[in-house]
Amino acid sequence: MIERHLSLPALRFGLRGGRFGLMMGVALLLGFVVLGLSPLFVDIAPPAQMDLLARLAGPSDTHPLGTDHLGRDVLSRLIHAVPVSLGAAFATMLAILAIALPWGVIAAVAGGRVDMVMMRLADIIMAFPTLVLALAIIGFMGASLQASIIGIAAAWWPSNARMVRALVLSASQRDFVRAAYLSGASRLRVIVRHILPQVLPPLAVIISLETASVLLALSALSFLGIGAQPPTPEWGAMLNQARPFFSQAPHMLLVPGLAVTAAVLALNLIGEGLRDLLDTREPYEW
C-alpha cells in the first residue's frame, strides 16, 4: 500500500536495456571529447592546410580518412570540428534553457493570467515549423554559425518552456510540495528545495534528447550553407562541401555524416538511458 516516490529499486537493480545504452552513449560522447582534445596531445595537420595536388584523395597512410576537394585532411577537419559542432549544439541548448527555464518556471508558479499569457506567447512561436522560423531569422541576420544558433534557439525555446512548465506544474501539485508551503516554507524555498529536485532528473533527460535534436538542426542549417561558414571545420558544413563530390569522393560525405550520426546517437542514448533509469513504472507482462 505504501508507494515510494523515488523507487530506488530501479536505480539499484537497473538491469534494463537503458543501462547498457547509457553506458554506450557516455562512452561515445567521451570518445568525442577525447577526439576533440587530441590535437593538444597528438600532432595533427592543421584543418585548413591545403594540398592542392592531393585533392579528393581516398584514405591513405598520410590521410587516414582521405582529403577533401581542396586537399585538406578530412580526419583533421573532423577532429577540429568536434568542439565547433558539439560546442554549438551545447551553446544553443544553453541559450534555449536560458529562456525556457525561467519562462516555464515562472508560468507554472505564477499560474492564472500570467501563465496564460506566457503560454499563448509560446504557442504563437510554436505554431511555426522550427526550421522555417530559424531559416527566416537567419535569412535576415546573414548566414553564420552565431546566426543559426540564435535562429534555432529563438524558434526552439517555446516547446522546452512548455515542457519545463509541465514538469514544474506536476511537481508542484505533489502533496508534499503543498504541504511544505502550508507548514511554513517560503515560496522560494518551496521552489528550490521541493520542486527543483523533482524537476532536475527529467530535465536531464529532456536536455540530452533536445541537445541531440538541436545538433541535428544545426548541422542541417550548415548543410544548407547558412550555418557555419567555411573554412570553419564543422560537420554539417563539411557535408555541404562534400555534396558535389559525393560520387567521386564518397568518403567526404560518409565521414562527417557518420560523425553527426554518432554524436546525435550518443546524446540520444544518454537521454533514453537516463529516462530508463529514472523510470519508476514497472510494466506488467502479458
Binding site: 585548413a48 591545403m50 592542392l52 585533392r55 576537394h69 581542396l70 535569412g139 535576415f140 546573414g142 548566414a143 553564420s144 550553407g225 547558412i226 561558414q229 567555411p230 573554412p231 562541401q241 555534396r243 558535389p244 563530390f245 560520387s247 567521386q248
Partner: protein
C-alpha cells in the same frame, strides 16, 4: 536545365525577368557580334547624330500574332518597355517619331550615345501587343510558348513563321533545378541534355570519363575583389592603397586558375577581357604572385607580423571581412577558402562570410559597407563598353552607386564623358582610362581570374556557346555523331 525560374507574370516586371526562355520567343533590336559590337537584328541599320537616333527596321518581320513589325509596332514595343519600372534604356518617351513605314527616330533622356549598345541586353527584348504577356508572350523569335509550369519548366516549340533561319531543334524544354548538384547529377543520370549556370564545384566534381561534355566560350567573366575604400572603422583598413596592393600581390592566380574552373580560367589583369571592344590588355599591368612584395608593402603600411602569424598595427589585428555572395556563393566556391589561405601566408586574417543570398548581401554588407572585401563574379554582359564600370564604380548612377568602392570624381568624369562621346574610339579611350584607374592605379577592384562562360551537356551534343549566357542559341544545338 537552369537554376531558377525568373519568369514573372507581372507585366511591369516581365521584361527583365524572363531571360533565357523568353530569349527564344522574343528578340532584341540588335545582337552582339564577335567583338561585342551591336549587329543588326530587328533593327536593320541605325545612326546617331546630335543626340538623335535614326533607325531603319528590318522588313518582313511579323510578331507571332500576325502584327507586322513596323514603325508603329516598334515604337509601341519600345514605349511598352519604358513604361515598366526598369528605365534602363533611358529613352526620351516624347521623342519617338515615325519617319516612314520602317523608319523611326528617338533621343536619349541623358544624352547618352550608347542606347543602341544597351539594346543587346535581353531585358530590352521587344514584345508585341498582348493583353497578358505572361500567358501569351508575343514576340518575333524563332519559338512559341508551348507550356509554362511555374518553377518547374517552360516548353517552347518552333515558330514555323519565323522570319529568319529556322532553328534545328523542334522543341526546347527549360527545367528549373535550383540545386547545383542536382542539376549535374540529373545530367549524369540522363534525365536532361544540357545544363547552364555551371559552377566551379560542378566542374571540379564533373566525371572525367566523357559522360559529360564541357562547352566553353572565350573568357568573359571576371572574378575580382571589390575593396571597401570608403568604409568606417572597423572596415577602414582598405583605405590604404598599400594594403590593397599587398593583397593583389598575395594571390596565386596561376594555382587558382589551374584548380578551379577545370583549369579553364586565366589569371586576370583587369575585369574587362582584352578581346572585348578591342580593348586590348596593354592598358593595364596586372599583378603577379609575390608574397615577399606583399609582405614588404604591408610592412611599409605599418602592419607588422604578430606572434600568432597575424599582422597588427597599433594593437589592431589585420583582420579583413571577405564577403562572397554575388551572384551567389556557388559561382566562386571554393575560391574564398583558397584566398583565405593565401592571405594567411602574408599575415592577413580573413573573416569569411559566404551568403548565397543577394538580398542579405545587399542590405547587410554592400549597402552598409560592413565588409572589407567583396568577392564578385560578373561580366559586362552588354555591348555598352561603359556598362559594367559605370554601374559599379561611379557615384552618378541614379541610386548613387556602390559608394564604398567608387574611386571618385575622376572615374565619374571619365565614364560620363565616355557615355556621351560621339565616336566609338573616344568611348573606348575613356573606358580604357577608367578601367586602368579601377584595377591598377586606384585598385578598387583586385582582379583575380577571367573565366569563360560554360555549359555542360551529354555527349553528342554541340552547344553554340556565347560569351553572354543569355545569347546561347539553344535552338541551334546540334547533335554530332561520334
Amino acid at each position: 536545365a537552369v537554376k531558377q525560374d525568373r519568369y514573372s507574370v507581372d507585366p511591369e516586371k516581365f521584361t527583365f525577368t524572363t531571360r533565357r526562355p523568353a530569349a527564344q520567343i522574343v528578340e532584341t533590336a540588335v545582337k552582339p557580334d564577335e567583338n561585342f559590337l551591336p549587329a543588326p537584328l530587328l533593327f536593320q541599320d541605325w545612326d546617331y547624330a546630335d543626340g538623335t537616333y535614326t533607325v531603319t527596321l528590318r522588313e518582313g518581320v511579323t510578331f507571332s500574332d500576325g502584327t507586322p513589325l513596323n514603325a508603329d509596332s516598334t515604337i509601341a514595343a519600345l514605349k511598352l518597355y519604358d513604361t515598366g519600372k526598369s528605365d534602363f534604356l533611358q529613352i526620351d518617351q516624347d521623342s519617338f517619331e515615325k519617319l516612314g513605314e520602317y523608319q523611326i527616330s528617338f533621343a536619349s533622356e541623358t544624352g547618352s550615345a550608347l542606347v543602341i549598345e544597351n539594346m543587346t541586353h535581353r531585358g530590352t527584348s521587344l514584345f508585341g501587343p498582348s493583353e497578358d504577356r505572361a500567358a501569351n508572350p508575343v514576340g518575333t523569335g524563332p519559338y512559341l510558348l508551348e507550356s509554362y509550369d511555374p518553377n518547374q519548366q517552360i516548353t517552347v516549340v518552333r515558330n514555323e513563321a519565323y522570319w529568319g533561319d529556322a532553328p534545328y531543334v523542334d522543341q526546347l524544354t527549360f527545367r528549373f533545378i535550383a540545386d547545383d548538384n542536382a542539376r549535374l547529377l540529373a545530367l549524369q543520370n540522363g534525365e536532361i541534355d544540357i545544363i547552364g549556370e555551371v559552377t566551379p564545384q560542378m566542374l571540379l566534381s564533373m566525371p572525367q570519363d566523357g559522360s559529360v561534355v564541357l562547352h566553353e566560350s572565350r573568357p568573359i567573366r571576371y572574378v575580382a575583389m571589390m575593396t571597401n575604400i570608403n568604409g568606417e572603422a572597423p572596415f577602414d583598413i582598405m583605405q590604404d592603397r598599400q594594403v590593397r596592393e599587398a593583397l593583389a600581390w598575395a594571390i596565386d592566380r596561376e594555382t587558382i586558375a589551374s584548380v578551379l574552373y577545370a583549369g579553364r580560367g586565366e589569371p586576370a589583369k583587369g575585369i574587362l577581357p582584352g578581346w572585348m571592344f578591342n580593348l586590348g590588355d596593354t592598358h593595364t599591368d596586372g599583378f603577379g604572385y609575390d608574397t615577399a612584395k606583399a609582405a614588404d608593402l604591408l610592412e611599409a603600411a605599418g602592419w607588422t607580423l604578430g606572434s600568432d602569424g597575424i599582422r597588427e598595427k597599433d594593437g589592431r589585428k589585420l583582420t579583413l571581412r571577405l564577403v562572397a555572395a554575388y551572384p551567389n556563393v556557388s559561382t566562386v566556391k571554393p575560391m574564398p577558402e583558397m584566398l583565405e589561405q593565401m592571405f594567411a601566408d602574408v599575415g592577413v586574417d580573413i573573416d569569411l562570410v559566404e551568403v548565397d543570398d543577394s538580398g542579405v548581401y545587399g542590405s547587410t554588407y554592400l549597402d552598409t559597407g560592413e565588409a572589407d572585401l567583396y568577392l564578385e563574379f560578373a561580366s559586362n554582359n552588354n555591348t555598352d563598353p561603359t556598362y559594367l564600370l559605370n554601374n559599379l564604380f561611379t557615384t552618378t548612377t541614379p541610386w548613387g552607386g556602390y559608394k564604398f568602392f567608387a574611386p571618385g570624381a575622376h572615374v565619374d568624369a571619365l565614364l560620363s564623358d565616355g557615355r556621351k562621346a560621339q565616336t566609338r574610339d573616344e568611348v573606348i579611350e575613356k573606358v580604357r582610362a577608367a578601367h586602368r584607374a579601377i584595377v591598377q592605379d586606384d585598385l578598387v577592384a583586385i582582379p583575380i581570374l577571367m573565366v569563360p562562360n560554360f555549359a555542360l551537356s551529354r555527349p553528342g551534343v554541340d552547344v553554340p556557346m556565347s560569351e553572354y549566357a543569355d545569347w546561347i542559341d539553344y535552338g541551334n544545338v546540334t547533335m554530332v555523331n561520334q
